[in-house]
């Protein structure tokens, strides 16, 4: 992400601006009243604005929505892999694993690894937020959330005894 510069404007509000990858400086001025101004800076006189678009609260939401959607879906893909030190992973339960045949409570995966099992995928069926009584079967896929180390440890447990 580009580096965003913040400038306090006493009595008015706050301005954020940055240089786009195309080399244009654009910004948003947030008034204390909630109004916004979209700023496009001039290229020949970089201290002034070539274009100023005044937006009320409603316009701001509309514009944010329009700009936001594609951004959000792009980010979702990344999120599945990484949320600030958290990892989500899909781990199969191997036949050789000591966990196979025991309930989630007995396997005590969370207390051993710190990883939460958020769902179990069994064939066509998905058990969301499985309770402690659910018995793990060979061939299940566990959807696990935890630290990268915890996930590694869980992977080991699900592979062997």
């Amino acid at each position: 992400m580009a580096e965003v510069e913040e400038t306090q404007l006493p009595g008015v509000g706050v301005r954020h601006d940055f240089v786009t990858s195309d080399g244009e400086r654009i910004g948003v001025l947030a008034h204390r009243t909630g109004r916004r101004e979209l700023l496009v800076y001039d290229t020949t006189d970089p201290d002034s604005c070539r274009n100023v678009v005044r937006l009320d609260a409603d316009d701001t939401h509309t514009l944010a929505e329009l700009l936001g959607t594609s951004h959000v879906s792009e980010r979702l893909a990344e999120l599945q892999q990484h949320i600030e030190g958290l990892t989500i992973d899909w781990l199969p339960v191997e036949r050789a694993s000591a966990c196979a045949g025991s309930s989630l409570r007995e396997a005590a995966l969370r207390s051993q690894t710190g990883v939460s099992i958020v769902a179990i995928v069994r064939g066509e069926e998905t058990i969301a937020a499985p309770g402690g009584d659910v018995v793990l079967q060979p061939g299940d896929t566990l959807v696990a959330v935890g630290t990268p180390e915890g996930i590694k440890e869980l992977f080991r447990l699900l592979h062997q005894g």
């Binding site: 306090q8 008015v12 204390r32």
Partner: protein
């Protein structure tokens, strides 16, 4: 019947006041249509309807007195509320050099003019205040209208306005005490007392602004507004008792409020501010005979030209320090030319104390000139910047 008598007395006052407010409404509309600040229009309206004006309105003297007193108290509360104590504190650290340049370059010409004219030194100090302070009201309107709030030179302009606001917190009480008169020794004591009081207010505002805010803060807008107005009137009254002007007390209340209370109160008060300002300018104009403007017109013109130049130099220098290029420096400098509400308030202190007969008319003529000329000149700032650099002769070295 007492009730009927009271009603009979009140009725003409209400009609008078209503007609005056309607006239202001028409003027505000005209000013808006022309894209100008309404301040000069209100002043002219006051001049035209006062003694010696085109139509001498027969307003009761009590109405004029009370009207201008309440107008100035509420106007100064609104001016004090304009910036939060956090903004004042943050700006104090970075804006000091530009603020000092501004004060010296613009107050000294005014003081010098007063002294050359052979005025009482206190009147000269007041004239210095009149020429020093830019009009944050006119300037923020101009910046908004010209879509310059997002410009990169604008923080330099706003920073100067904030420093002027802070400077007023010191200047106004000291001047008010000086005007109260007395011997030199008594004057020194009261100036020291005033400075101590201001230091205490500023300390509370800058360090404990959020605590003060919490005391008056309420979820209900009415409760907040009434609380702030109540405190303001009480402090203003106490200040008036202590011979410091009521307006100064109100200004310090506005300055001392910080945090969420300031933020919400300033939004609540801002539409009222224009109303207070309108009444204040009108009543200030009412007290001045337009005939008195003629002899001081040339003087006001000269003072306006000199101090417009010094303001341009101030803005140029401040913007240059912020790394702004030539066109932006000219925009910043010309934006600062406009004088307005504070200049009139300062002159009003002198008029109230009756120290120099020429001060009121001179300040009125001066503000009329610069409140109109400032916004017009800055509109053409970019064309000035397009001229060859030779034309920037006012540039300080």
């Amino acid at each position: 019947m007492p009730v009927a008598v009271a009603a009979a007395e009140v009725a003409p006052v209400l009609v008078e006041l209503g007609l005056v407010v309607l006239a202001l409404a028409v003027l505000a509309r005209v000013a808006d249509r022309l894209g100008l600040s309404p301040i000069p229009f209100y002043l002219v309206a006051g001049l035209a309807t006062g003694p010696g004006g085109l139509v001498a309105l027969d307003l009761s003297p009590e109405l004029v007195d009370i009207g201008s007193e309440i107008g100035v108290v509420l106007l100064l509360l609104a001016l004090g509320l304009e910036y939060s104590s956090e903004e004042l504190g943050a700006n104090l650290r970075v804006g000091l050099p530009a603020g000092a340049f501004d004060a010296l370059a613009n107050a000294l010409p005014g003081v010098a003019f007063g002294l050359v004219l052979g005025w009482d030194p206190r009147a000269a100090i007041l004239l210095g205040g009149v020429t020093y302070i830019s009009s944050s009201g006119v300037i923020s309107k101009v910046l908004r209208d010209l879509d310059r709030l997002g410009n990169r030179e604008t923080p330099s302009v706003l920073s100067i306005l904030v420093m002027e606001d802070l400077a007023m917190a010191v200047y106004l009480p000291v001047v008010a005490v000086l005007l109260a008169g007395g011997s030199v020794a008594a004057g020194l004591v009261s100036v020291t007392a005033a400075l101590a009081a201001v230091a205490a207010v500023l300390f509370v505002a800058l360090r404990h602004g959020t605590t003060v805010s919490r005391v008056v803060l309420s979820r209900s807008d009415e409760a907040l507004l009434l609380g702030v107005l109540g405190i303001t009137l009480v402090v203003a009254g106490v200040a008036a008792q202590l011979q410091v002007s009521a307006a100064v007390g109100a200004f310090l209340v506005g300055i001392a409020l910080g945090g969420a209370a300031q933020e919400r109160a300033s939004l609540l008060v801002s539409p009222l501010r224009d109303l207070f300002a309108a009444t204040f300018f009108l009543f200030f104009g009412l007290r001045i005979d337009p005939g008195d403007l003629v002899p001081v017109a040339a003087l006001a013109g000269a003072l306006a030209v000199v101090t417009a130049g010094t303001k341009v130099a101030t803005g140029w220098w401040a913007a240059k320090r912020a790394g702004i290029a030539r066109p932006g420096r000219i925009r910043a400098g010309t934006a600062l030319i406009a004088r307005g509400e504070f200049s009139i308030v300062i002159a009003g202190l002198g008029v109230g104390a009756g120290i120099e007969a020429q001060l009121g008319p001179l300040a009125a003529a001066y503000v009329l000139l610069l409140a109109v000329a400032g916004p017009i000149v800055t509109r053409f700032a970019d064309r000035l910047a397009a001229l060859p650099p030779m034309a920037g002769a006012r540039r300080p070295t």
